[in-house]
Point group: D2
Chain length 287, copies 4
């Protein structure tokens, strides 16, 4: 049985690594705060002292870090992942990073003779636990094929999207669509309320027809209750909208709907809602 | 067993009336072109010569006409539905009409001593055949309760929304949300294509997560194939967007997302796409 | 010397009629509140008891009423302007009305054998006093030529724009441009302030270059002072934006900038600023 | 009489330096292509071989370079401006650069003991020749006061805007307002044409009232003639719109009007109009 490496045992990483263990794979783990490793060790994981130890001892190492800064630090630190990389040592970064960070890490790995895949995921804590993430991989096709048996234990859908950066771009576009759907839902809810219709009636109708989707069902009900506890913070959504629009700028694609949704999220930021859930854009729209 | 009337046996009306017959109700039908009645008669329906004959002989008559002009004509013509109305004779207009038309018909029915319900539907040919429409009723609550056994054979969801006009308003708001979702989907597809990603990959990702909805699945695939055969003509969608925005204007609700989607649909109209499916807004967005 | 009729001696009408008298024309006046006539009589005007008396005794009668309802009432009342109209009696309505009202009045005048011109004006109290209005005439060309000697005493610029309705349409388009200019000015002022720049610096720069215009100079200074005393009420601007967008809808012209400006004015209405000056849209933009 | 330095004798720089000479100042000039110096020498300028020679021999040196890259190159090259800087040697960069470039140059100058002012200008070739530029200075106040006698020969209006970066920010905001005004003008022209009104009539009305401004007069006439010869290329306008929106993003200021104007300019880019005048956005709006 092949041994996989896994770096980063946070809210997302821990359940993802557990799913590899449950599937019977041998897993060597590392985490910045070592106490997080105990739970995994109890399930059979080997614990390493540094990222370099992991990448130097496993054919394929997965990483799931909090943000681009953490992804870079874990890769480039003195005992970082890069130090263990060489011929026959591959790295699959599943963190959500921008295309530039991904390309920087990929170039360094390739320079050392290793292979690299970016594989950001769509989905949060629950799908990570259930192994139902959507994995947006890009980079080296052969590595994707080799990593697939492990990726399929973490996600219900694993797509290979071509050249490095495409995983990040796909994630931005999906989030742009999500932001646009949220603003039009909020306008619908605000208009319905002013028209004397119940939010719950609109949500019920939407959920019964061709527009029915899990986000409207979950977030719609929370909006109707005034519950904006952050699952995906509004400031992150606004940042993704901005980056998607910048991508459109680079590529010469006008995006009127996205640009307007972005301004509504900015309006919400100006109202002090940056750290609320992105559905709090409702407050900017209805006020 | 109660006898229901049914006026209008077009693409929607014919299967709706059939569903009443299949459920065992007695049904008296009328249609402008009498040849359409034959099929219903073969299933056991009684055929009447005029709308007045139907409303004058049934406790509750349903109407499903093509547009506001047809709805008014069938009601107010010399042998129209209004002529048969009186105490104990009720009228349920399921046609898609604006709130003003609905209120005009309702007032005339009430003046004659009858009761009135507007009950526009969400859903098209297939749900009409399957009895899975969503019925947005408003007007007299008691009539809704009495008509419910029949409505439930035509729709999978029957909502009572309060005062007359609320059915029409709800339908506008739902269509506004639909139009907004379509424009952001098209922007996502256009951006993905320019970024070198496949439309089918984006659709696959969208269909795997929290944004998955039947419209994206069906229309997204058709857009990717360049198939814009009209199921819901673009000009009708643009009209509904305009009316929804006008409703926001009346009620003092700003609607930036809807206003922009409306302009994209107008751009599509200017490109000569009025009679294509409303998903043809993709051509205005991607060109 | 020819005698002109003049109906309506309000804030606009009184100074306009005075300019005719000052130019040496004989003028017969009427006003709903007769006490307004005294000042004009003191300057040599003949006072009539009804609109019909004016139109029946003058070859050309000008009307300057508050709104479409007043314009219709003065024309169609029992002793209204229409009663005095016949061959050789012409009517020039300078009120701001929509194209439909204008066409209705024009048709009635023509039916009685008279001639009709719509001639709404651009400019408010001060230009009315100074005789520097801009007059947007449309309808019968010959009547325009005959009325020109009088129109030129009221306006510094008199344009003939073709068929009836074009005067109203031109005014809407000008107001649409005005609304768009106001929203981008307000966004500039709000952004400058947040960037730590003074409003007065931005206004100074704008006033020194190719964008310099009297509206920015006047309204910009008032916005900077927080002075939103109504010269042109925001609700009227929003109505004109809405009508201009509806015109674009009729003609298949997308108007993204206007549609967005309209939503900002609606946002201002939702904030309770309907009766403030239209520059109060700044409060919706900067808050 | 004080000697001023001047670096960069292009379309803008040459006439600006000439205006200093005409005013009687001694001027030492440098240009990358030395042949451009001859004309200035004929008017009495001293010609230097390198930027360092200029800054090392003049108390105050002005620079007017083509873009941020040129501004950096001239400052940081081996014989660049920075080499001549020290105590008592000041540098005024009048090139149009972003706030970051300006701050980078300013920091280097300060590190060497010199003083720095950014002073981008509003206005193009003709105002440069006429000495009627608008100068947007920021940085060290004392240096501004000392340079003012020279600045006033180049510009009709010289504003001191505070900390470094404010000159660049002010210029962005002014261009953002310019872009917004252009899009609403184009929508007005497109709508007027579709309504059967002449472009020239609308321009005439606009030019007669409170919205009259030199840009509408000049560009409006050119648009009506289909003349889009580049004075300010569309791609540069779109870049400035994008940067202004990014500034709003940093500062939490929603900018719906600017964001929409930006998308219209992007639409124009997608139509291949990048190198036309920015008024060519008309073609994106009217098509």
């Amino acid at each position: 049985m092949q041994t996989f490496g896994f770096l980063g045992l946070g809210i997302m990483g821990a359940p993802m690594a557990k799913n590899l263990l449950k599937a019977g794979f041998a897993v060597t783990v590392w985490n910045r705060s070592p106490e997080k490793c105990a739970e995994l060790a109890a399930l059979g994981a080997t614990v390493a002292a540094t990222p370099a130890e992991v990448t130097g001892s496993c054919a394929i190492t997965f990483a799931m870090l909090a943000d681009p800064a953490a992804a870079e630090a874990v890769c480039f630190a003195p005992d970082g992942a890069l130090q263990g990389i060489g011929a026959g040592r591959s790295y699959v970064d599943m963190s959500t990073v921008d295309a530039a960070t991904s390309q920087k890490i990929g170039a360094a790995i390739a320079f050392k003779g290793g292979r690299f895949l970016e594989a950001p995921v769509s989905g949060s804590k629950k799908p990570a636990e259930d192994g139902t993430l959507i994995i947006l991989a890009a980079g080296e096709r052969e590595l994707f094929d080799e990593a697939l048996p492990a990726l399929e234990k973490m996600g219900k859908k694993c797509l290979f999207l071509g050249e490095l950066g495409n995983g990040a771009r796909m994630k931005l576009i999906v989030n742009m669509v999500m932001g646009g759907m949220m603003t039009i839902l909020c306008e619908g809810l605000a208009l319905a309320t002013k028209a004397g219709l119940r939010s719950s009636s609109l949500l019920d109708v939407l959920d019964s027809g061709a527009l029915a989707n899990p986000m409207f069902k979950l977030k719609g009900a929370q909006i109707a209750q005034g519950n904006f506890a952050p699952a995906f913070p509004l400031k992150h959504m606004q940042k993704d909208m901005r980056l998607a629009i910048a991508l459109g700028d680079d590529l010469g694609q006008p995006l009127f709907a996205a640009a307007n949704a972005n301004e509504s999220f900015k309006k919400a930021r100006a109202l002090g809602l940056s750290d609320e859930d992105f559905s709090a854009v409702f407050q900017a729209i209805s006020s």
